[in-house]
Amino acid sequence: MDRDPHVCVMGEDVGHYGGSYKVTKGLADKFGDLRVLDTPICENAFTGMGIGAAMTGLRPVIEGMNMGFLLLAFNQISNNCGMLHYTSGGQFTIPVVIRGPGGVGRQLGAEHSQRLESYFQSIPGIQMVACSTPYNAKGLMKAAIRSENPVILFEHVLLYNLKEKIPDEEYICNLEEAEMVRPGEHITILTYSRMRYHVMQAAKTLVNKGYDPEVIDIRSLKPFDLYTIGNSVKKTHRVLIVEECMRTGGIGASLTAAINENFHDYLDAPVMCLSSQDVPTPYAGTLEEWTVVQPAQIVTAVEQLCQ
């Protein structure tokens, strides 16, 4: 926002409140109430307003207080965000960033625990990225703001408390690239967002048991970085996908299809995908735990695949 006065923020409680997860804390004091706009509760309209502003020269960062609320903005995200550049014959660009916290939290209930990346992935003309560490959060956010394409940046409700030392100076993370988290030889584990931490926890156990997993945080949910992913598959010949999306129609489903289509010859075993249950996330803690993939399941899956 310092660098480019056209960058602005809009969303519910982003200004005076500092954001529901304090992501925009202090910005309204520094940049004013118009650049950090507290909107009324009208997702479809303020997302559309951000799109209209982007078409006419601004670079809005639109926040969904919870990504689930963006279901109300689906009309604007699909028709105007994704498709307008094309239907206008390339005349208008929509350099918006749509961001917010999503994913399964701690007993937030079904509606606040949704994974919107499944629903948005088919929209042509948008890019989707998911950050998972303070380092890639800063890098991806900057890249998304600077991109001429509309980018949806998925943050996770449980990852805001992570602490990490990151460079003060400018850097960006490439929107289309995946991140190598742990190189290995035996199996490729593809994951993103919060599940990265479950995978790394499982990885500790697996290393103790003598396995050498390669862990890749795909980061770019649309499009997939088939180069990084492909190189890994060609090396290990086994793939496990660990995601938080539901079984049906999630990112994992698409990734499984893409790997089978592109790298079938390199696989020694079918691609395995661990996803959340096709269940509305229950409120009760025990039930909630059983809907998402836990480290123990990851360990079992790797052992199975590596037999």
Partner: protein, 426 residues
């Protein structure tokens, strides 16, 4: 409903120009609604509403401001202005008539929604705007694009699906865009353009207040009566008034949404009233009379430029044809259609110009001939233009084609030579 224009500004008392708030009525409301031939039953609760309407809101009604204006001469327009308005309406009408012909000859496809009868609204508003002002429309957008300055050739080619179309053939009838003329679309779903218009108005305000630029640009959003029952409409009325955005919401109330009568779908059919509920003036104007529309538009646009915020203008108008070229138009009463046909805005303007000696029949005929030739030429141009090639398939999906990602070979998909051919795997 008179077809001739009065020589002086229309004052209150005429059905066509309502005050901001209705007077307290002790007698029951008339049982017909505007020119509709359907009867409207007023429930007794509505009489209670009108009794309370005496509470004045601090919002000044646009009509009141217009009424206070001193009229120095008795004519509303000069000759030059009159000819510009006439030519624009004739262009709109001839173009749409040609679209119908071309559609039935198999040159144009899909859903095509024609604007015949509503020309006074487009001309009345858009001819007051500058190039840098923005217009947002719906699927009934051909004439808004033409009034805004997009060439007839570009619009016709777009309708034929040719590369020379304003959107390279990729948008079609319902997506007329022009960056040069600030025509921000063309939207297929009703209501989805209104937030975009609100955003364009937001940019105007942002430019003034954050970027400290001189910016007086206003945005005009056109939409119909059906849209006024949609959530996005209300959400935007709220935000526009809240942030005092330079936007004018123009409702083209033609009484019908495909086959749904406005009266059957709306609890309170008087749409202009919804403006004051959100803190902006709500004005009702006879949309079959281009001069009346223009007077209201002038004040609404000036309000917006002065930074006083939005206005809601409801234009009573009518579409002479069906909702689209696929609509058999069986539900509308012949008597209703006849009543509005007698109020044809073009005939009315012609009469005004001739009777007030602003133009001769001969001059107007010259304009009509010129437009006929222009539209014919546009068709020839569109016919002769090439269809999009395969190479166009993948362009314009992303402003930055890196968005298609990195392929298994490590190169970006868009670097694949087949990408420009339109045959790359993406």
């Amino acid at each position: 409903m008179a077809t001739s224009f009065s020589a002086t500004l229309p004052l209150h008392g005429s059905q066509e120009n309502r005050l901001l708030l209705p007077p307290i009525r002790l007698a029951p409301l008339p049982s017909s609604f505007l020119g509709s031939t359907r009867s409207l039953t007023i429930p007794s609760s509505r009489r209670l509403y009108h009794a309370h309407a005496a509470r004045r809101s601090p919002v000044v009604g646009v009509q009141e401001v217009v009424k206070e204006k001193k009229v120095t001469n008795s004519l509303l327009i000069t000759k030059e202005e009159g000819l510009v308005l006439y030519e624009d309406m004739i262009l709109g009408r001839s173009f749409e008539d040609m679209c119908a012909q071309m559609y039935y000859r198999g040159k144009m496809f899909g859903f095509v929604h024609l604007y015949n009868g509503q020309e006074a609204v487009s001309t009345g508003f858009i001819k007051l705007l500058t190039q840098s002002d923005s217009v947002v429309s719906t699927y009934r957008d051909h004439v808004h694009a033409l009034s805004k300055g997009v060439s007839a050739r570009a619009v016709m080619s777009e309708l034929f699906g040719k590369v020379t179309g304003c959107c390279r053939g990729q948008g079609g009838s319902m997506h007329m865009f022009s960056k040069e003329h600030n025509m921000l679309g063309g939207f297929a779903f009703i209501g989805e353009g209104i937030p975009v218009a609100t955003g364009a108005a937001f940019t105007s305000k942002y430019k003034r207040e954050v970027l400290k630029q001189d910016c007086e640009d206003v945005t005009v959003a056109f939409f119909g009566d059906g849209t006024c029952n949609n959530g996005q409409f209300y959400e935007c009325l709220n935000m526009a008034a809240l942030y005092k955005l330079p936007i004018i919401f123009v409702v083209e109330n033609n009484l019908w949404a495909i086959g749904m009568s406005h009266l059957r779908s709306t609890s309170d059919p008087e749409i202009w009233k919804k403006g004051p509920a959100f803190g902006m003036p709500g004005v009702h104007v006879d949309g079959m009379d281009v001069l009346k529309v223009r007077e209201v538009a002038k004040e609404a646009v000036m309000r917006a430029r002065r930074g006083e915020g939005p206005t809601l203008v409801e234009c009573e108008t009518y579409r002479f044809r069906g909702h689209s070229l696929a609509d058999p138009d069986e539900l509308r009463d012949a008597a209703e259609k006849a009543k509005y046909a007698a109020r044809d805005p073009i005939t009315a303007l012609k009469k005004y110009l001739v009777e007030n000696k602003l133009a001769s029949e001969g001059e107007l005929k010259t304009i009509e001939k010129k437009i006929d030739e222009l539209v014919e030429e546009a068709v020839e141009f569109a016919d002769a233009s090439p269809q999009p090639g395969r190479s166009q398939l993948l362009e314009n999906v992303f402003a930055d084609p890196k968005g298609f990602g990195i392929g298994p070979d490590g190169r970006y998909r868009c670097e694949d030579p087949k990408f420009t051919e339109g045959t790359a795997q993406v």
